[in-house]
Amino acid sequence: MAMAMMRSGLQAALRRGGRNASPKRSFASSAHHDDAYETAKWEKITYAGIATCTILAFNNLSKGHPHHEETPPYSYLHIRNKEFPWGPDGLFEKKHADH
Protein backbone atom coordinates (compact mmCIF):
# COMPACT_ATOMS: atom_id res chain seq x y z
CA MET A 1 0.00 0.00 0.00
CA ALA A 2 2.69 2.45 1.09
CA MET A 3 4.88 1.36 -1.82
CA ALA A 4 2.04 1.83 -4.28
CA MET A 5 1.37 5.31 -2.89
CA MET A 6 5.04 6.22 -3.16
CA ARG A 7 5.17 4.92 -6.70
CA SER A 8 2.12 6.87 -7.85
CA GLY A 9 3.47 9.94 -6.04
CA LEU A 10 6.80 9.62 -7.87
CA GLN A 11 5.07 9.14 -11.20
CA ALA A 12 2.91 12.19 -10.60
CA ALA A 13 5.99 14.23 -9.66
CA LEU A 14 7.78 13.09 -12.80
CA ARG A 15 4.83 13.88 -15.04
CA ARG A 16 4.34 17.39 -13.82
CA GLY A 17 8.08 17.89 -13.79
CA GLY A 18 8.73 18.71 -10.18
CA ARG A 19 5.97 21.28 -10.12
CA ASN A 20 3.85 21.55 -7.01
CA ALA A 21 0.32 20.49 -7.76
CA SER A 22 -1.73 21.39 -4.73
CA PRO A 23 -5.49 21.36 -5.51
CA LYS A 24 -5.73 25.15 -5.64
CA ARG A 25 -3.15 25.17 -8.41
CA SER A 26 -5.22 23.17 -10.85
CA PHE A 27 -6.91 26.41 -11.95
CA ALA A 28 -4.84 28.06 -14.63
CA SER A 29 -5.64 31.61 -13.47
CA SER A 30 -4.59 31.08 -9.86
CA ALA A 31 -1.52 29.04 -10.82
CA HIS A 32 0.00 32.05 -12.52
CA HIS A 33 -0.51 34.26 -9.49
CA ASP A 34 0.98 31.57 -7.26
CA ASP A 35 4.22 31.33 -9.22
CA ALA A 36 4.58 35.10 -9.27
CA TYR A 37 4.13 35.10 -5.49
CA GLU A 38 6.64 32.26 -5.05
CA THR A 39 9.13 34.02 -7.35
CA ALA A 40 9.03 37.15 -5.20
CA LYS A 41 9.27 35.10 -1.99
CA TRP A 42 12.33 33.11 -3.12
CA GLU A 43 13.96 36.26 -4.48
CA LYS A 44 13.71 37.77 -0.98
CA ILE A 45 15.06 34.57 0.62
CA THR A 46 18.00 34.63 -1.82
CA TYR A 47 18.80 38.28 -0.94
CA ALA A 48 18.62 37.47 2.77
CA GLY A 49 20.99 34.55 2.19
CA ILE A 50 23.44 36.69 0.19
CA ALA A 51 23.39 39.38 2.90
CA THR A 52 24.09 36.81 5.65
CA CYS A 53 26.89 35.23 3.63
CA THR A 54 28.49 38.62 2.91
CA ILE A 55 28.55 39.57 6.61
CA LEU A 56 29.90 36.17 7.60
CA ALA A 57 32.52 36.27 4.83
CA PHE A 58 33.87 39.66 5.96
CA ASN A 59 33.82 38.44 9.56
CA ASN A 60 35.78 35.32 8.56
CA LEU A 61 38.30 36.96 6.25
CA SER A 62 39.15 39.74 8.72
CA LYS A 63 40.16 37.16 11.33
CA GLY A 64 43.19 35.75 9.48
CA HIS A 65 44.07 32.09 9.56
CA PRO A 66 45.67 30.36 12.55
CA HIS A 67 49.20 29.02 12.43
CA HIS A 68 49.62 25.36 13.25
CA GLU A 69 52.78 24.27 15.03
CA GLU A 70 55.16 21.82 13.37
CA THR A 71 54.38 18.17 14.07
CA PRO A 72 56.95 15.39 14.48
CA PRO A 73 57.54 13.49 11.21
CA TYR A 74 55.22 10.58 11.99
CA SER A 75 55.51 7.75 9.46
CA TYR A 76 51.91 8.23 8.31
CA LEU A 77 52.44 11.90 7.40
CA HIS A 78 53.82 13.25 4.13
CA ILE A 79 53.80 9.83 2.48
CA ARG A 80 56.04 9.43 -0.60
CA ASN A 81 56.28 6.09 -2.40
CA LYS A 82 57.54 7.32 -5.77
CA GLU A 83 58.00 10.54 -7.69
CA PHE A 84 55.07 12.24 -9.40
CA PRO A 85 55.30 12.57 -13.19
CA TRP A 86 56.06 16.29 -12.66
CA GLY A 87 58.55 15.97 -9.81
CA PRO A 88 59.04 15.05 -6.17
CA ASP A 89 56.17 17.10 -4.65
CA GLY A 90 52.42 17.16 -5.11
CA LEU A 91 51.07 20.11 -7.10
CA PHE A 92 49.48 21.73 -4.04
CA GLU A 93 51.92 20.49 -1.43
CA LYS A 94 54.58 23.21 -1.40
CA LYS A 95 53.45 24.17 2.10
CA HIS A 96 55.62 21.47 3.66
CA ALA A 97 58.71 23.34 2.48
CA ASP A 98 57.36 26.86 3.06
CA HIS A 99 55.92 26.80 6.56
Binding site: A36, T39, C53, A57, I79, K95
Partner: protein
Protein backbone atom coordinates in the same frame (compact mmCIF):
# COMPACT_ATOMS: atom_id res chain seq x y z
CA UNK B 1 10.16 14.49 -40.63
CA UNK B 2 8.79 10.93 -40.70
CA UNK B 3 5.27 11.10 -42.16
CA UNK B 4 4.12 7.69 -40.94
CA UNK B 5 5.03 8.26 -37.25
CA UNK B 6 2.03 7.30 -35.10
CA UNK B 7 3.65 7.48 -31.66
CA UNK B 8 5.23 10.13 -29.44
CA UNK B 9 8.59 8.44 -28.88
CA UNK B 10 11.85 9.87 -30.19
CA UNK B 11 13.66 7.41 -32.45
CA UNK B 12 17.14 8.92 -32.58
CA UNK B 13 19.15 9.22 -35.79
CA UNK B 14 22.50 7.45 -36.17
CA UNK B 15 25.20 9.53 -34.47
CA UNK B 16 29.03 9.42 -34.47
CA UNK B 17 29.29 10.66 -30.86
CA UNK B 18 29.07 7.36 -28.94
CA UNK B 19 32.09 5.94 -30.79
CA UNK B 20 34.04 9.22 -30.66
CA UNK B 21 33.39 9.45 -26.91
CA UNK B 22 34.52 5.85 -26.47
CA UNK B 23 37.74 6.47 -28.39
CA UNK B 24 38.34 9.59 -26.30
CA UNK B 25 37.86 7.56 -23.11
CA UNK B 26 40.26 4.89 -24.40
CA UNK B 27 42.93 7.49 -25.22
CA UNK B 28 42.41 9.15 -21.82
CA UNK B 29 42.79 5.87 -19.91
CA UNK B 30 45.83 4.61 -21.84
CA UNK B 31 47.37 8.10 -21.88
CA UNK B 32 46.74 8.50 -18.15
CA UNK B 33 48.47 5.22 -17.30
CA UNK B 34 51.36 6.07 -19.65
CA UNK B 35 51.71 9.53 -18.11
CA UNK B 36 51.73 8.20 -14.54
CA UNK B 37 54.42 5.67 -15.48
CA UNK B 38 56.49 8.34 -17.27
CA UNK B 39 56.20 6.82 -20.76
CA UNK B 40 57.10 9.09 -23.65
CA UNK B 41 54.00 10.68 -25.23
CA UNK B 42 51.82 9.85 -22.23
CA UNK B 43 50.95 13.47 -21.50
CA UNK B 44 50.16 14.09 -25.20
CA UNK B 45 47.83 11.09 -25.45
CA UNK B 46 46.14 12.04 -22.17
CA UNK B 47 45.56 15.62 -23.35
CA UNK B 48 44.30 14.43 -26.74
CA UNK B 49 41.89 12.02 -25.06
CA UNK B 50 40.52 14.69 -22.75
CA UNK B 51 40.10 17.17 -25.62
CA UNK B 52 38.30 14.44 -27.59
CA UNK B 53 35.91 13.76 -24.69
CA UNK B 54 35.22 17.46 -24.14
CA UNK B 55 34.56 17.93 -27.88
CA UNK B 56 32.21 14.91 -27.92
CA UNK B 57 30.30 16.24 -24.90
CA UNK B 58 29.90 19.61 -26.60
CA UNK B 59 28.62 18.34 -29.97
CA UNK B 60 26.48 15.56 -28.47
CA UNK B 61 24.65 17.92 -26.15
CA UNK B 62 24.43 20.47 -28.97
CA UNK B 63 22.60 17.78 -31.00
CA UNK B 64 20.25 17.01 -28.09
CA UNK B 65 19.39 20.70 -27.79
CA UNK B 66 18.68 20.87 -31.54
CA UNK B 67 16.48 17.78 -31.30
CA UNK B 68 14.61 19.41 -28.45
CA UNK B 69 14.18 22.95 -29.78
CA UNK B 70 14.47 23.05 -33.58
CA UNK B 71 13.22 19.56 -34.36
CA UNK B 72 10.68 19.33 -31.53
CA UNK B 73 11.33 15.68 -30.72
CA UNK B 74 11.00 16.09 -26.95
CA UNK B 75 7.33 15.27 -26.52
CA UNK B 76 5.75 14.87 -23.07
CA UNK B 77 6.60 11.16 -23.16
CA UNK B 78 10.23 11.84 -24.13
CA UNK B 79 10.49 14.44 -21.34
CA UNK B 80 9.27 11.80 -18.87
CA UNK B 81 11.97 9.42 -20.07
CA UNK B 82 14.62 12.11 -19.73
CA UNK B 83 13.52 12.78 -16.14
CA UNK B 84 13.62 9.08 -15.27
CA UNK B 85 17.08 8.86 -16.82
CA UNK B 86 18.37 11.83 -14.87
CA UNK B 87 16.93 10.55 -11.59
CA UNK B 88 18.72 7.22 -12.15
CA UNK B 89 21.93 9.14 -12.86
CA UNK B 90 21.61 11.02 -9.56
CA UNK B 91 20.92 7.72 -7.75
CA UNK B 92 24.20 6.39 -9.19
CA UNK B 93 25.94 9.55 -7.96
CA UNK B 94 24.53 8.96 -4.47
CA UNK B 95 26.11 5.50 -4.52
CA UNK B 96 29.39 7.00 -5.73
CA UNK B 97 29.56 9.32 -2.71
CA UNK B 98 28.30 6.57 -0.40
CA UNK B 99 31.58 4.75 -1.05
CA UNK B 100 33.67 7.72 0.12
CA UNK B 101 31.57 8.16 3.26
CA UNK B 102 32.04 4.45 3.89
CA UNK B 103 35.83 4.85 3.62
CA UNK B 104 35.69 7.84 5.97
CA UNK B 105 33.58 6.14 8.66
CA UNK B 106 35.53 2.90 8.31
CA UNK B 107 38.74 4.81 9.10
CA UNK B 108 37.40 7.24 11.72
CA UNK B 109 34.99 5.17 13.83
CA UNK B 110 37.73 2.72 14.92
CA UNK B 111 41.06 4.50 14.28
CA UNK B 112 43.97 2.07 14.01
CA UNK B 113 47.05 2.06 16.25
CA UNK B 114 49.15 3.17 13.26
CA UNK B 115 47.61 6.64 13.43
CA UNK B 116 47.74 6.82 17.23
CA UNK B 117 44.34 5.19 17.84
CA UNK B 118 42.60 8.57 17.67
CA UNK B 119 40.63 10.61 15.13
CA UNK B 120 41.81 13.00 13.81
CA UNK B 121 45.18 11.18 13.73
CA UNK B 122 47.94 12.45 16.02
CA UNK B 123 49.72 15.39 14.40
CA UNK B 124 46.84 16.42 12.09
CA UNK B 125 45.67 19.99 12.63
CA UNK B 126 42.09 20.12 11.38
CA UNK B 127 40.11 23.01 9.88
CA UNK B 128 37.62 24.88 12.07
CA UNK B 129 34.17 23.80 10.79
CA UNK B 130 32.55 27.05 12.01
CA UNK B 131 34.72 29.30 9.84
CA UNK B 132 34.91 28.72 6.05
CA UNK B 133 33.02 25.37 5.98
CA UNK B 134 29.99 26.86 7.78
CA UNK B 135 30.09 29.93 5.54
CA UNK B 136 30.19 27.59 2.53
CA UNK B 137 27.14 25.76 3.89
CA UNK B 138 25.21 29.04 3.93
CA UNK B 139 26.49 29.93 0.45
CA UNK B 140 25.27 26.62 -0.99
CA UNK B 141 21.91 26.91 0.78
CA UNK B 142 21.52 30.45 -0.59
CA UNK B 143 22.29 29.28 -4.10
CA UNK B 144 19.71 26.52 -3.57
CA UNK B 145 17.21 29.28 -2.75
CA UNK B 146 18.32 31.20 -5.86
CA UNK B 147 17.74 28.18 -8.13
CA UNK B 148 14.23 27.81 -6.62
CA UNK B 149 13.69 31.50 -7.36
CA UNK B 150 14.75 30.80 -10.98
CA UNK B 151 12.36 27.84 -11.18
CA UNK B 152 9.35 29.86 -10.05
CA UNK B 153 10.36 32.70 -12.35
CA UNK B 154 10.37 30.28 -15.31
CA UNK B 155 6.99 28.86 -14.26
CA UNK B 156 5.58 32.38 -13.88
CA UNK B 157 6.88 33.35 -17.33
CA UNK B 158 9.19 36.03 -15.90
CA UNK B 159 12.02 35.45 -18.36
CA UNK B 160 14.37 38.24 -17.26
CA UNK B 161 13.91 37.46 -13.57
CA UNK B 162 14.85 33.84 -14.30
CA UNK B 163 18.12 34.95 -15.93
CA UNK B 164 18.94 37.17 -12.93
CA UNK B 165 18.15 34.31 -10.55
CA UNK B 166 20.42 31.95 -12.48
CA UNK B 167 23.21 34.55 -12.47
CA UNK B 168 22.82 34.78 -8.68
CA UNK B 169 22.92 30.98 -8.40
CA UNK B 170 26.08 30.74 -10.50
CA UNK B 171 27.82 33.60 -8.66
CA UNK B 172 27.17 31.93 -5.30
CA UNK B 173 28.48 28.66 -6.75
CA UNK B 174 31.68 30.38 -7.91
CA UNK B 175 32.17 32.01 -4.50
CA UNK B 176 31.79 28.57 -2.89
CA UNK B 177 34.45 27.12 -5.20
CA UNK B 178 36.72 30.10 -4.49
CA UNK B 179 36.46 29.59 -0.73
CA UNK B 180 37.08 25.86 -1.12
CA UNK B 181 40.20 26.63 -3.18
CA UNK B 182 41.40 29.07 -0.52
CA UNK B 183 40.71 26.53 2.22
CA UNK B 184 42.61 23.81 0.30
CA UNK B 185 45.55 26.14 -0.18
CA UNK B 186 45.70 27.10 3.49
CA UNK B 187 44.96 23.64 4.92
CA UNK B 188 47.71 22.46 7.30
CA UNK B 189 47.47 18.90 5.88
CA UNK B 190 47.54 17.44 2.35
CA UNK B 191 46.12 14.33 0.66
CA UNK B 192 49.36 12.47 1.48
CA UNK B 193 49.06 13.15 5.23
CA UNK B 194 47.60 9.94 6.68
CA UNK B 195 44.21 8.35 6.08
CA UNK B 196 42.68 11.61 7.35
CA UNK B 197 44.09 13.58 4.43
CA UNK B 198 43.21 10.80 1.97
CA UNK B 199 39.54 10.49 2.97
CA UNK B 200 39.15 14.26 3.48
CA UNK B 201 40.45 15.29 0.06
CA UNK B 202 38.89 12.34 -1.77
CA UNK B 203 35.39 13.18 -0.47
CA UNK B 204 35.58 16.99 -0.49
CA UNK B 205 37.58 17.01 -3.74
CA UNK B 206 35.01 14.94 -5.61
CA UNK B 207 32.30 17.15 -4.14
CA UNK B 208 34.15 20.22 -5.39
CA UNK B 209 34.42 18.61 -8.82
CA UNK B 210 30.66 18.03 -8.80
CA UNK B 211 30.08 21.64 -7.78
CA UNK B 212 32.08 22.72 -10.85
CA UNK B 213 30.02 20.40 -13.09
CA UNK B 214 26.80 21.73 -11.54
CA UNK B 215 28.00 25.31 -12.07
CA UNK B 216 28.66 24.63 -15.78
CA UNK B 217 25.21 23.00 -16.04
CA UNK B 218 23.59 26.09 -14.47
CA UNK B 219 25.59 28.43 -16.72
CA UNK B 220 24.27 26.52 -19.77
CA UNK B 221 20.73 26.84 -18.36
CA UNK B 222 21.26 30.58 -17.87
CA UNK B 223 22.41 30.99 -21.48
CA UNK B 224 19.49 28.89 -22.74
CA UNK B 225 17.04 30.90 -20.63
CA UNK B 226 18.54 34.10 -22.09
CA UNK B 227 18.13 32.68 -25.62
CA UNK B 228 14.52 31.75 -24.91
CA UNK B 229 14.95 27.98 -25.09
CA UNK B 230 13.14 27.38 -21.80
CA UNK B 231 9.37 27.77 -21.62
CA UNK B 232 6.79 27.50 -18.84
CA UNK B 233 5.78 24.04 -20.03
CA UNK B 234 9.10 22.68 -21.28
CA UNK B 235 12.34 23.15 -19.34
CA UNK B 236 13.66 19.65 -18.63
CA UNK B 237 17.28 20.81 -18.86
CA UNK B 238 16.72 23.40 -16.16
CA UNK B 239 14.93 20.88 -13.92
CA UNK B 240 17.79 18.43 -14.27
CA UNK B 241 20.30 21.17 -13.36
CA UNK B 242 18.22 22.18 -10.33
CA UNK B 243 17.92 18.56 -9.14
CA UNK B 244 21.66 18.10 -9.62
CA UNK B 245 22.36 21.30 -7.71
CA UNK B 246 20.19 20.21 -4.79
CA UNK B 247 21.97 16.84 -4.81
CA UNK B 248 25.37 18.57 -4.61
CA UNK B 249 23.99 20.74 -1.80
CA UNK B 250 22.78 17.71 0.20
CA UNK B 251 26.13 15.94 -0.24
CA UNK B 252 27.82 19.04 1.19
CA UNK B 253 25.51 19.01 4.23
CA UNK B 254 26.58 15.40 4.91
CA UNK B 255 30.25 16.29 4.36
CA UNK B 256 29.96 19.27 6.68
CA UNK B 257 28.27 17.38 9.50
CA UNK B 258 30.35 14.18 9.33
CA UNK B 259 33.81 15.08 8.01
CA UNK B 260 34.28 18.73 9.02
CA UNK B 261 32.25 18.82 12.24
CA UNK B 262 32.06 15.33 13.79
CA UNK B 263 35.37 14.22 12.25
CA UNK B 264 37.17 17.31 13.50
CA UNK B 265 36.35 17.07 17.18
Amino acid sequence: MIESQRHSYHLVDPSPWPISGSLGALATTVGGVMYMHSFQGGATLLSLGLIFILYTMFVWWRDVLRESTLEGHHTKVVQLGLRYGFILFIVSEVMFFFAFFWAFFHSSLAPTVEIGGIWPPKGIGVLDPWEIPFLNTLILLSSGAAVTWAHHAILAGKEKRAVYALVATVLLALVFTGFQGMEYYQAPFTISDSIYGSTFFLATGFHGFHVIIGTLFLIICGIRQYLGHLTKEHHVGFEAAAWYWHFVDVVWLFLFVSIYWWGGI
